[in-house]
């Protein structure tokens, strides 16, 4: 009999305690970031899709060593380059990133020995068309320099 009543009493008490907790939360300010109206700054090491890094002349640092293409686990990078006559260095002519396959692992940036790749901080990339995710990084570099 005593346990019966004490259990009812303790049960009720625990319910009121719980309600106390939610009431305390009720009067605290909200913590939400209302997304389209406010946006957050991406942190410094945020791994977005990749971007080419340019040198002082606005040309990409890439020397077409194909390391990134080989390192990519998902085959999303395709590079092409050609050798200018007279010069020893290869020049990048095409850098396509198939972002539909990319898993944002960052292995390409890690494998690059020439400081030619970096992560973009862009994250508003939603689209309804698949074609929007075939990035031509050279073109993006040009657009950035405009």
């Amino acid at each position: 009999m005593v346990t019966y009543f004490s259990e009812i009493y303790r049960g009720l008490l625990s319910l009121f305690e719980g309600m106390g907790v939610t009431f305390k939360e009720f009067i605290k300010p909200t913590v939400t970031v209302s997304y389209p109206y406010e946006t957050l700054e991406m942190c410094e090491r945020y791994r977005g899709h990749i971007e080419l890094i340019e040198n002082e002349e606005g040309e990409p640092n890439c020397v077409v060593c194909m390391m990134c293409q080989r390192a990519c686990p998902s085959d999303c990078i395709s590079i092409a380059g050609k050798k200018e006559e007279g010069s020893k260095k290869k020049v990048l002519t095409k850098y396509m990133l198939d972002f539909t396959k990319c898993s944002l692992c960052g292995t390409c940036v890690e494998s690059c020995n020439f400081n030619a790749l970096d992560f973009s901080k862009e994250y508003n990339l939603a689209s309804t068309r698949k074609e929007d995710f075939y990035f031509d990084l050279l073109k993006r570099l040009e657009d950035r320099n405009k």
């Binding site: 009812i8 009720l12 319910l15 719980g18 309600m19 907790v21 939610t22 009431f23 939360e25 009720f26 605290k28 300010p29 909200t30 913590v31 939400t32 209302s34």
Partner: protein
């Protein structure tokens, strides 16, 4: 005769409007309240404070197609949501909001409200049975056992109050508790009974209201984590909307009853300016508590719920009934 008929029609229209408006804006209040408890802003885009959200939701629901699952019992399937809304609206007719604002006062008002309240669980059974969905079926089976289990302590508690007041007329019950907070049935120090166990009765009644209206933590009928959405799994469009409105209308009725039976209706705690505003304040405080409880507690189990009713609420309410009867005899 004509006048009374007109009276009733106007009252029904007002009741429907009141119920619908309440339902719509209680959804808004619930969403806002839940959001605040969870430290979110809640709906705040449409209109100031998101106040245009409910009408827009209503328009969206109405614009949707009402689908009937294949092999469903069509008549019952359509009838169920109507049946969910109808008793709630009918109950409004007899509820006195103040000594003047009442559509049709009856000397068996309490009985009438309980009669209509029992119909509510019928709509769940209809919906669950006719949906031809196993989850809905299980939900309606639960709803029946829940309704049976909780109407008993609820009625016993009400009888206690009726005994104290000596009447089943809701107006009369309120008038009995009118002068001050100490005359209310919840703290009956100066009233007729001097029963110190009445706060317990209030708690029992309140718990039963939660269970009767299928609110958390007793929302076993729609227990979304196990029964998907329970009885209204197959409902879309306004069929779902009516269930939703019915639920909130039932909450309002339940809170109205609690206010009338225990909190002195429209009477002021200090005996000043009694009137409809006191009723409204008490009503919405109770509704806010409903919302608060819903967003605090997890759901009970079906056997936990039945245990609570049969092992705790019914014995306690019966004891309180006898105790009150004894006190009335003595004083």
């Amino acid at each position: 005769m004509n006048l009374t008929l007109l009276n009733v029609i106007v009252a029904v229209v007002i009741a429907i409007a009141f119920a619908a408006l309440n339902a719509a804006y209680l959804v808004w209040a619930e969403r806002r309240g839940a959001a605040r408890i969870q430290r979110r802003p809640g709906p705040n885009i449409n209109g100031p404070f998101g106040l245009l959200q409910p009408p827009l939701d209503g328009i969206k629901l109405m614009a949707k197609q009402l689908t009937t699952p294949g092999g469903a019992d069509k008549v019952l399937f359509i009838a169920a949501p109507v049946l969910a809304m109808f008793p709630a609206i009918m109950s409004f007719v007899t509820i006195p909001f103040s000594d003047t604002i009442v559509a049709k006062n009856m000397n068996v008002g309490v009985l009438m409200i309980f009669a209509f309240a029992s119909m509510g669980s019928m709509s769940l059974v209809f919906a669950g049975w006719s949906s031809r969905n196993k989850y809905s079926m299980m939900s309606s089976v639960r709803a029946v056992s829940q309704a049976v289990a909780y109407e008993i302590p609820m009625l016993i508690t009400t009888i206690t109050v009726v005994m104290i007041a000596g009447s089943t007329d809701l107006m009369e019950i309120v008038n009995q508790q009118s002068p001050s907070i100490l005359h209310w049935n919840i703290f009956p120090l100066l009233g007729n009974s001097h029963n110190l166990l009445m706060p317990l009765s209030f708690l029992i009644f309140f718990t039963c209201t939660l269970a009767e209206t299928n609110r958390a933590p007793f929302d076993l009928g729609e227990a979304e984590s196990e029964l998907v959405a329970g009885f209204h799994t197959e409902y879309g469009s306004m069929g779902f909307g009516l269930f939703f409105m019915g639920e909130y209308a039932n909450i309002v009725i339940g809170s109205c009853m609690t206010t009338i039976l225990f909190l002195g209706g429209w009477s002021c705690p200090f005996g000043l300016f009694p009137g409809v505003w006191w009723f409204i304040i008490k009503l919405y405080i109770l509704i806010a508590t409903f919302i608060w409880i819903r967003w605090t507690f997890p759901r009970t189990t079906i056997y936990g719920l039945l245990n609570l009713s049969w092992k705790i609420l019914i014995p306690l309410s019966l004891f309180n009934l006898l105790f009150t009867a004894g006190l009335i005899k003595v004083f």
